[in-house]
Symmetry: C2
Subunit: 196 residues, 2 copies
C-alpha cells in the first residue's frame, strides 16, 4: 500500500507526495491486475487520493500508466564513436526499459490504447521516441560513412527490431533471463545469423 | 455489413454462415473501433446473430478476435535446404500475418488479454506458435551443423525478433511499405549491421 495519507499531513510536499502515491499505486495494480484491470478508481483508492486530484494531473489512465512505467527517455550519451557499443547499449536499455514487472504487464494494453488515438500516440509514443530515433539515425549514417556499418541499413527498422523484440520477448514469451536476451539480441543485430 | 440473415434462410449452411458472419463482423469492428471498442454485443448486432449463437462457438471476445485475424499456422513448408530463403520467408510471412488492417488494430489488445490469462496464453499464443518454433529450431540446428549459420544463434530469440519487429513496425510505428519492411528485416537478420 502506498497511500498519500490525509492532506493535513502533506503540507508543502503535497503535490510530489500525491504524484508518487498515484504512480506507485499504478505500478502495484498493473502487476496485480494487468492493464485492463487497473482503473482510475482503483488507483485513487490504492493511493488514498480523490479522483479530482488525479484528473488535475493526468487526463486519462493511459497518461498515468505511461508516467508510471517509463522514465523520461533522453538521447543516448556518448559521441557515437563505437557502433558495436552503441547497439549493445540500446539493446540492453530496451530490455531494461521493458523488463520491469509493471512495464511487462502494461505495455500491450498501452500499445492498444495509443493505436486507436492519434493524439495520444503522438504524445506517448512518437514524441518520447523522437530523440532516440534522430540520434540513432545520425550515428548509423556516420558509421556507414566510415565504412563500419553496411550501407542500406535502415535506422527506423533497427529501432523497430530493438523495441519490438524486447516487448515480444518480455511481455509475450515472458523470458526470465534478461541479460541473456539483451546479449543475444545485440549479437544478432551486429553479426546476423549467417556464418562468414 | 455482413449479417447472416434470418435463420430460416440458412438451412444446412447455417453453422458456416454464422461463423463467417461473426468473423467478418469482428474484422470490420476491429478496423472501425479498435480492440477495446469491439464488444461481443456489437459483434452480434453487426453479424445479425444472437449472443447465444456466439457463446456456443467461442467462450470469449479474445477467442473470436483470434479466429478472426489469424489463419491456422502450419509448419513452414520445404526441406530447410536454404536458410537464407527460410528466414526471408519467415520475415515475409510475419509481415503478412500481422499486416492486415484488422490484425494491426487487434494484436496489442489481444497481447494484453493473453498476458493476464495463462490458460488463454497457452491456447492462443503458445500452442499456435509451437509448430513454427520447433521447425525453426530444427532448421537452425541443421544449418549450424552444416556451417552455414553461426553457432550460438538462439532460435527463440530469432522468433521474438521476427514477430516482435513485425508487430511493432505495423501496429505501433504504422509503416506503410510492408514489402520493404520484410526485406529490410530479413537483410538485417541474415547479415547484421556491421560491414565485413
Amino acid at each position: 500500500m502506498t497511500g498519500a495519507g490525509g492532506q493535513h499531513r502533506l503540507g508543502p510536499q503535497r503535490n510530489a507526495a500525491i504524484d508518487t502515491a498515484v504512480l506507485d499505486a499504478t505500478r502495484e495494480l498493473l502487476i496485480e491486475r494487468g492493464y485492463s484491470g487497473t482503473s482510475i478508481d482503483a488507483i485513487a483508492r490504492r493511493a488514498g487520493v480523490g479522483r479530482p486530484a488525479i484528473y488535475r494531473r493526468w487526463p486519462s489512465k493511459a497518461h498515468i500508466v505511461h508516467d508510471a512505467i517509463y522514465p523520461r527517455l533522453t538521447r543516448p550519451e556518448g559521441s557515437g564513436g563505437d557502433v558495436e557499443e552503441d547497439i549493445a547499449l540500446l539493446a540492453a536499455g530496451a530490455v531494461e526499459l521493458f523488463g520491469s514487472p509493471a512495464t511487462r504487464a502494461a505495455v500491450p494494453g498501452l500499445m492498444s490504447e495509443t493505436r486507436g488515438d492519434p493524439e495520444l500516440h503522438d504524445l506517448l509514443v512518437d514524441q518520447p521516441l523522437a530523440g532516440v530515433r534522430d540520434e540513432l539515425r545520425r550515428r548509423l549514417d556516420e558509421a556507414i560513412a566510415d565504412g563500419r556499418v553496411r550501407s542500406g541499413i535502415d535506422s527506423d527498422t533497427l529501432l523497430d527490431v530493438i523495441a519490438g523484440t524486447a516487448i515480444f520477448a518480455l511481455s509475450v514469451r515472458d523470458v526470465d533471463d534478461q541479460h541473456r536476451l539483451a546479449e543475444s539480441l545485440a549479437d544478432l543485430l551486429l553479426h546476423g545469423v549467417l556464418a562468414d
